[in-house]
Each structure stands twice: as structure tokens, then as C-alpha cells.
Symmetry: C2
Subunit: 141 residues, 2 copies
């Protein structure tokens, strides 16, 4: 299982999902939790550019992804873990707050969930949604 906003889909997302699939081992099924618009608005101060249903469908269109599901409205790591029951839960390089919450929940509840953190990729590409937005604002505003 991996999770994220996946606003303005880019290669950084694809690489993250590649790592996530790999972390699951052979024949792993990759389930991706897509952050709700409301959750993103609460944590980042504004909604994503692409609405949640489109972000979900686009992620599910990727070869790597077996299933993409929308997160819960009142975001709760524990509820997601209890529902999806992942064997391996993969976190991106920038999901530090999430890692803390996940590890706490898994330990407290004595769950057999392997928590894996993947690294950052080369920074020379447009590998983040905020860099893409910035480039667009520079070119088109």
C-alpha cells in the first residue's frame, strides 16, 4: 500500500509507485490511497488542482497500480490500515509526519505491517507537483 495526493501526475509519482510495488515483493498487489480534497485542503491550506475523482482514476490507469481508492474524509491512518490490511506500507521521502503516525499505530496495535520508506529521486526533472505548478506560473501567468 502506498498513499499520496498525486496532483498533476508526473514521473516522480511513477517512480515512487515502482519502489512501492518492488517493496511488496514478487507478485505484490499495489493498492494506492488517494488523499481526499478535503484532507489536502486541511493539511496544505488549499485544494489540489485536480479533483479527487480524477486523481484517483488517473492513478488507477497506471500499469503499476492494481487499485486506487479514495482515502477517508476525516483522515485517520489507523482506519485506512485496518481497512486495507497491507502487508507492506510504503512511504515517500516527504511523508515524514505520516511515517511517525503509521509506526505509532502499527506498534501500539501489534500489527504485522512492514513499514518501508523510499528515497528521493534525482532532482533534475520536474518531479514534484509544486515544481510543475511553479513552472506553469512562470511561463503562463
Amino acid at each position: 500500500m502506498a498513499s499520496g495526493v498525486f496532483d498533476l501526475l508526473h514521473l516522480g509519482h511513477v517512480r515512487f509507485l515502482e519502489e512501492a510495488k518492488r517493496a511488496g515483493g514478487e507478485n505484490a498487489k499495489l493498492i494506492v490511497i488517494i488523499a481526499r480534497d478535503s484532507t489536502v485542503e486541511k493539511t496544505k491550506g488549499r485544494k489540489p488542482v485536480m479533483p479527487e475523482n480524477q486523481r484517483r482514476k488517473l492513478v488507477e490507469s497506471l500499469k503499476l497500480v492494481d487499485e486506487a481508492v479514495l482515502g477517508v474524509e476525516t483522515f485517520d491512518v489507523g482506519e485506512v490500515i485496518r481497512t486495507v490490511k497491507p502487508d507492506v506500507l510504503v512511504l515517500g521521502y516527504d511523508q515524514t509526519g505520516m511515517e511517525r503516525r503509521v509506526r505509532t499505530f502499527v506498534e501500539k496495535n501489534g500489527l504485522a505491517v512492514e513499514v518501508v520508506r523510499v528515497g528521493k529521486f534525482e532532482a533534475d526533472e520536474l518531479d514534484s507537483s509544486s515544481k510543475i505548478r511553479q513552472r506553469i506560473v512562470e511561463k503562463y501567468a
Copy 2:
């Protein structure tokens, strides 16, 4: 075969590729030609936001797509058709200039290439790269 710029990948692209795959019939192999940065700059006056290699890799990451290849630098419909040898060539709703050139080339050379034009999808979503750019400029500039 389908072609396009595929800058800022969105659901409109995915639906277009779905239609393209469907137009090819059962077990069709979908080859997507990705417009070069230089071609886009020449025809639209500026380069895409995402560089060609990233646009290519991202399109090839889609379940629907068997192969995504970069177009030729000095854009020539005929050269692409001769190289890919498609059974069915699918054009999007906004590729009218291209359709004319393709039909002329296919007729002149007596080729057995079926040319299919697909329609536009509902307009209530962020289904075009320019709408996405506009939304970003409005929100972030």
C-alpha cells in the same frame, strides 16, 4: 496508433487513448507517438511544460499503452505512418489539421490505413492541458 503532446496528463488523455485502443479492435496494440518539444514549440509558439522524455515515459506507464515513442524532429506525418505502419490511426477531436494531412497522405499513397476520428468528452472536467494550466495560474500566480 494515436498521437499527441500529452502535456500535464489528465483524464481527457486517458479517455482518448481508450477510444483509440477500442478503435483498433480486439487485442489491438496501442502505439502512441509523443510530439517532440521542438514540434510543439514550432506549432504552438512555446514548449510544453513537461519535457518530451517525461511525457513519453508517463504515457508509456499507462495500462492502455503498449508503446510510446517520440515523434520525428522535423515533423512529417508520412514518415511516422511509414515507420509505425498502423492498421488504424486515431485522431482526437482537436486534431483537425492533422486529420487532413493524414488522409491526404494515406490516399495519395494508396495505403490500407483506417483513419478514425474520436469525439470530445464531457467538458465539465479538467480535460485539457490548457484548462489545467489556467486553473494553476489562477490559484497560484
